[in-house]
Assembly symmetry: C2
Amino acid sequence: MDFVTGSAPEGRYEIADLRRCERDGQEVTVHGAIHARRDMGSITFLTLRKRDGVVQCVADAGIDLTGLSEEATVLVTGTVRDDERAPNGFELAITKLQILSTPAEPLPVPVSKWKLNLNLDTELNLRPVVLRNLRKRSVFKIQEGLGRAFRAYMEGQKFTEIHTPKIVHAGAEGGSNIFRLDYFGKKAFLTQSPQFYKQMMVGVYERVFELAPVFRAEKHSTPRHLNEYTSMDFEMGYIQSFTELMEMETGFLQCAMALLAQEYADDLKRLNLTLPSVEKIPALRFDEAKRLAAEKYGRPIRDPYDLEPEEEVNISRYAKQTWDSDFVFVTHYPSKKRPFYAMDDPADPKYTLSFDLLFRGMEVTTGGQRIHSYEGQVAKMLDRGMHPEEFTQYLMLHKHGVPPHGGLGIGLERLTMKLCELDNVRHACLFPRDLNRLEP
Amino acid sequence: MDFVTGSAPEGRYEIADLRRCERDGQEVTVHGAIHARRDMGSITFLTLRKRDGVVQCVADAGIDLTGLSEEATVLVTGTVRDDERAPNGFELAITKLQILSTPAEPLPVPVSKWKLNLNLDTELNLRPVVLRNLRKRSVFKIQEGLGRAFRAYMEGQKFTEIHTPKIVHAGAEGGSNIFRLDYFGKKAFLTQSPQFYKQMMVGVYERVFELAPVFRAEKHSTPRHLNEYTSMDFEMGYIQSFTELMEMETGFLQCAMALLAQEYADDLKRLNLTLPSVEKIPALRFDEAKRLAAEKYGRPIRDPYDLEPEEEVNISRYAKQTWDSDFVFVTHYPSKKRPFYAMDDPADPKYTLSFDLLFRGMEVTTGGQRIHSYEGQVAKMLDRGMHPEEFTQYLMLHKHGVPPHGGLGIGLERLTMKLCELDNVRHACLFPRDLNRLEP
């Protein structure tokens, strides 16, 4: 019998430690993968890939490098010395090297290159190794930062985190883009959104959030659709106006940009990114936005009830040119294009108290106020030819009292895509799922 | 056009604010739901349910309470005054009351009672309203704290958060307990574990974690199984021994208990819980644990390769009696009961470098070191009659180099269940999924 005490193992140096390290010849030990090996005659340069960057290591002829291939993992002991040509301004002069693992085959693509320029399909097929590329890796550090900021902001605003089921008996968004599965002989679906559940939980905790996968059986393949994505959802009660939801999202974005600037500077630099300003975000009514963009860019309005992708691009362009903003809220979407739980604008019920957030030409958020009265919700369902008796448990929320509330869902991959200036949302998903792709 | 600036709306008082509030007759405004209404002749007591507790409000005859039913949501203005009989030691003398929403029907169960004592099925059917009970609500605050602690600890230990697909082309755990779905005409599955993906990501970030749903098509109904649950997974590279994984988990548990004690004291008190000590956790070998429990409690060993639920109970009991520990690690599980990626113990390949963590009689974690050599992994697959060519993309990780690594998965609901001393894991899941339950 032994006791486990939660103690950390003896220290190995990370890049942050090496940066702070005295240059006094003290030996340090680091682990990592051989990202690149360059033999220069009497000496060999090894680029060691660590979780937080790379370290240049130098081996002279006295160090045995037999069998040391790229992507081997090693334990290296050496002394740190300044070298302004090396990453981070220092290198490690190796005194001892131990191989921990050796690959069976060389990499199929040169992941240590700065840019890979692979065909999308090849890249996705080779995803487990392509992600070892430093710039690819940085995209998902940025994504991590966005998720962290979302949760940190929500917690600060006293939202409670919830976990709701992904296997459901009815879809929240309706329509045909829903995955079906057999659940012990019963018909079931994969959730398109935590909508029903987060509304139920407003009756419990007032403010709730969830960061979790959602599933959409989109039958078309576009650079902006994934069949499985990560949705950052919140729902808040006791709102006086749906604009509070937009204020909350703007607050999150401010928190996110601050966190990225502070803790992800290396990744931003590696991707050569400038963070957008989110100090203030313009908000335009749907009909106004449509008209302004049509007038400015001479593109006729074809669908008065929805925004075409090109219109989203033009409205964003308009906001950028007019207010120098990469983000723009579009409010008051037409009722007929919004789901049955959307609250109509009392001032004009053809429109809803709802909004989308566009970021650099693409919708990254849909949100709005929900109907909270039982009679109102049942009436709107009947009006749409729906059967309220199929939604008994959802309607329990309205029947037994819920405060005025609303919420939104943010697509994490789309937000990452636009922030990292990627041309396809698949690049912003570790292992994307689309019409033709189910692996890796 | 308006600008959204991320500003918070004018302040409404939360319970924490009211606790700090001067008792000087200043008027404050709070919102909440009418948890209970008691008419006492000339005055009426209203228990206002807020996200962080309840506030006692008192209305004299001058306040119009017409139509104010339980579960109505309201905006109340009043003055705070000390009252030692009230929750938190104060009450609000109402000067103004505005109804925000009114339920269409009274609650089917008295959620304002301290204990509900409902039949499990009734309780789960009425989940959206039952969760409004203060003690029910506290269970999921504790659950939130466990998730927060997991992420905070992982971040502190330099793990990177990842999001991996839930729709997959092959199961990680194998066996028949896997949900199948049709993916645009292709056969697909719901993931049983992020195992393959987190291992792939060790080659990218060294240390990764994920908190996400997993799916198990268990065809039996027990108090300890859910068909969808939340798994807290991590995987770490460059380990020297699998005991580092247990150290990491112990560190997480220490972090979790500290966070709960600090930020969830109200919930712990409401549930009358004492947090277990996690300063040190005993670790016993599988065969030793089995033998000790059999000897001590006189229960013969029937299955030498696995632990029966009763054995888990007895080993926990043994650990409690011997070392006063609510947790116990059981290490070196037999190879034939562990998955194909488990690393066998070089000292005795009949056993693996793996472990379970038992908590108060139930397994809450399975973990261990994984095979990292390509030849080793292919050999073990062939040995088990598997077809390595069906795992090409998974094996890319071994083929192209990965450090020695291991990881674990913690069942969030089971951890919550045992911590909150619940008798069925369904009580530790907001909206459980089981053999017979797909809604709400």
